[in-house]
């Protein structure tokens, strides 16, 4: 519980500071181009890592289990331009079904 609250407070304060950087602190001045280009690539790098870890990691070992099926179906749904909510439901549903069938 305390761990969760510490994270909530720190992420909240940090995010507010990041969002305020331009409008409140810099007051309309631009950022150096180089930094902008690097920051733009942070989200794809981190999101891809989150996909990989949440699909294959089980504690400190890498496994292939029912989640892979769910993520595969999700990838197909994203490719077919399904809304995010449907993507999530399909992934969870596929994985739950696979587990129920003993995969």
């Amino acid at each position: 519980m305390t761990t969760a609250w510490t994270v909530v407070v720190l992420v909240g304060l940090g995010t507010a500071a990041i969002k305020s950087l331009g409008p409140v602190l810099l007051g309309g001045r631009p950022l150096p181009r180089r930094i902008g280009a690097l920051v733009a690539l942070l989200a794809p790098a981190l999101l891809a890592a989150l996909v990989a870890i949440n699909t294959f990691a089980d504690g400190r070992s890498l496994t292939v289990d029912a989640r892979v099926l769910g993520v595969g179906v999700a990838a197909l749904a994203i490719w077919r331009r399904a809304p995010v909510l449907l993507v999530i439901v399909l992934a969870a549903g596929t994985t739950a079904l696979a587990r129920a069938l003993g995969a």
């Binding site: 969760a4 631009p30 989200a43 949440n54 769910g70 549903g93």
Partner: protein
Amino acid sequence: MPAPERSHRDGVREVAPLAIAVLGFGASFGVLARAAGMGAISPIVMSATTFAGSAQFAAASILGAGGGVASAVTAALLLNARYGPIGVSVAPYLHGGLWSRFIHAQLTVDETWAVAAEGEGRFNPKVLLGAGLTLYAAWVGGTVLGVAFGDLIGDPATWGLDAAFPALFLALLVPQLTTRAARLAALIGAAIALALTPFTPAGVPIIAASAGCLVGLTKAHGETTP
């Protein structure tokens, strides 16, 4: 005849279809945060104070996997780092006092930023505020629903909720892969994370993956190369 200037109401109207999706998205955060052991109240407070989906999901997934406070906070803030430049792009169009600019800044997220854009790098602060307040209500309201619903669920694995996390991150990732540099950063990020998993505590591989953004140094104009 010039196009009439857009107002707060236009912001609300244009973002309404997204608000329905965000409500459901907020509900999934509530359910998954509960499943990750965050309790009932802290996910709601997090939605109300952080108001940034991918960072909140990242923090919850790291906590759920047994990662520490430092890992969860660092990963979430790195994911939110993009709001630095986004805020900078909006700043010249925010006029009011410090408090007003602060509120507009907090409501500037990917979707509201896109809706408020008027081309040639200009932004409409009224549209931003209308759209921002609408999405904020949907996000926090959705989280409350999700937390309440999460009580009824029991073991999240039975429902495949552990697969909902990667599916969601994939849905957030794909629209970002529009440039060669972004695809390369994503590949490197995933490779680093998987390679480190056996050797480091939960959460650390995610943070190390941020090194993937360094491809931006070698490809100075990578952001415009398709």
